[in-house]
Amino acid sequence: MSFLEVKHLDVFYGDVQVIFDLSMHVDEGEVVSIIGGNGAGKSTLLKALSGLVPPRSGEILFQGRALHRAPPEEIVEEGIVHVPEGRRLFSLMSVKDNLIVGAYNRRADAVKDRTLGEVYELFPRLKEREAQMALTLSGGEQQMVAIGRGLMAKPRLLMLDEPSLGLAPILVKSIFDTLKKIAQAGTTVLLVEQDVKHSLSLSHRGYVLEHGRIVLEGPAADLLNDPHVKTAYLGL
């Protein structure tokens, strides 16, 4: 039994099916990448896992628990934490309040002061800016808050949707360095990225998603050398 086990997942928006019979798994301690082009269904898959878009059929098992019918707040309580695409910060709240809201679930609330210290250690910049409104931060700083807010929830499985989106190359590198640190500290990570090179070099394994179906999977090193991945995603 894997840490996260997804079986035959079908996800719809109204009548439109976006994810087709998708099965995948993540083992404890792994970093797994999901790569795919625009509209492939990567964000939808994460939304199904976090309960925002409940799947029509299929199963989601996390540490043996069935979560495919659970509401988002229950899934967070179980330890699956979703850092959404586009950061989605609470714009009119301070950096610190954004982080503290991240620790809303009961498990995280009990240790939130300690976690806040750890997040500030990881992102010293956020400590300097803690009183500033999230709205007024730069893109890179906003992404730090988004990741920090995810960490505040004490994730057992951290799911990140395109954390490098829209950032300057130097910031992309620093975000990936941070993710590496987070993974090395023992958090299991499921990473959705368009920056295939960076994300696969950080990952143990990867899945390639096209039109809502997994077309390729395997160890990250193999995917990096796969001819299809090379032409379609690495531009080689």
């Binding site: 976090s50 309960g51 925002l52 509401p71 988002p72 707040e73 967070v76 309580e77 934490v81 979703h82 959404p84 989605r88 910060l89 609470f90 714009s91 009119l92 709240m93 309040d97 503290i100 809201v101 991240g102 809303y104 679930n105 995280a108 609330d109 709205l135 807010r149 929830a153």
Partner: protein, 295 residues
């Protein structure tokens, strides 16, 4: 000149009570993005609750607070949970669900007519009420005592709400939900429970307002309508969703109403109130104290 100061003081006091009646409206709008057209009716129901509590127990009018505020919280909580939430769920992707507004209008009609049916159209005033007509004499000025207490209640309630939203775990969750309900649910916040709580809080503040009003204001089935219209003007003036704005908006209206008649006929003061309302809508739609980036 002394008259003017006296009028201004009484206007500020009454205005703060208007602000208190509008606080719930602004809280509910801030979180649910819905104008609650039933708010005046909830104030009316609260006034009847306060009236009957005092009439039946013979308590001091302000003691009714310990019953009315919690009872109205529960009433608002379940009104949202049972009547409004299903419609919200049906319109999940809409930012300002219009059908919810229609439902609150329905609630307004039902509550007003039910009250008419149960208690009749007559005006009711508390008998043997130690506060009615009580005046504080400062030099030659007369200040209404129940309005002074109303002012204190308004300031305390607004400060309490402000601290609740800024400093508590639940208050932060309510704020987060009001800014991005989907992101809030990713933080483990149950958005529908937050809506229930916000509605409960908004209704409880109507309960506080009612307790301060009943000692000097008549109770009748359509009393809410008067405060409803003022309430809408106040929250637009002050900025929808702004707690301090509601208080200040109320005080502005109270001042215009009390000082205005010194210089013009009372109908003109109403024209000024509406004129100011329109002016703010044109010039600064987010209200005098609202935040521009969002509601």
């Amino acid at each position: 000149m002394l008259f003017l100061i006296e009028d201004a003081i009484n206007g500020i006091l009454m205005g703060s009570i208007y602000g208190l009646t509008a606080l719930g409206l602004t809280v509910i709008f801030g979180v649910l993005k819905v104008i609650n057209f039933a708010h005046g009716s909830l104030l009316m129901v609260s006034m009847y609750a306060a009236y009957w509590t005092v009439a039946l127990t013979g308590w001091h009018p302000y003691l009714a607070l310990v019953i009315v505020a919690p009872a109205m919280f529960v009433f608002g909580y379940y009104l949202q949970d049972i009547v409004i939430k299903p419609i919200f769920k049906a319109e999940q992707d809409v930012r300002e669900p219009i059908t919810v507004i229609i439902v609150t209008t329905g609630v307004w009609y039902i509550l007003d007519n039910l009250t008419l049916l149960l208690f009749g159209p007559q005006y009711r005033t508390l008998q043997d009420n130690p506060l009615r007509g009580r005046m504080l004499e400062i030099g030659q000025m007369l200040i209404s005592v129940p309005k002074l207490w109303g002012f204190a209640a308004a300031v305390l309630t607004a400060s309490g709400l402000y601290l609740f939203f800024q400093k508590t775990r639940l208050g932060r969750a309510v704020r987060a939900t009001s800014l991005d309900r989907q992101a809030a649910s990713l933080m483990g916040i149950n958005q529908y429970k937050v809506y229930n709580i916000a509605f409960g809080i908004g209704t409880a503040t109507a309960g506080i307002a009612a307790v301060t009003l009943v000692p000097f204001y008549n109770v009748f089935p359509t009393v809410g309508v008067l405060f409803d219209i003022k309430g809408f003007i106040i929250v637009v003036l002050g900025g929808l969703g702004s707690i301090g704005g509601a208080l200040l908006g109320g005080i502005i209206i109270g001042l215009i109403e009390s000082v205005g008649p010194q210089f013009m006929t009372a109908t003109w003061t109403e024209a000024i109130v509406y004129g100011l309302f329109l002016l703010v809508l044109f010039v600064k739609p987010s209200g005098l104290f609202g935040v521009r980036y969002d509601w």
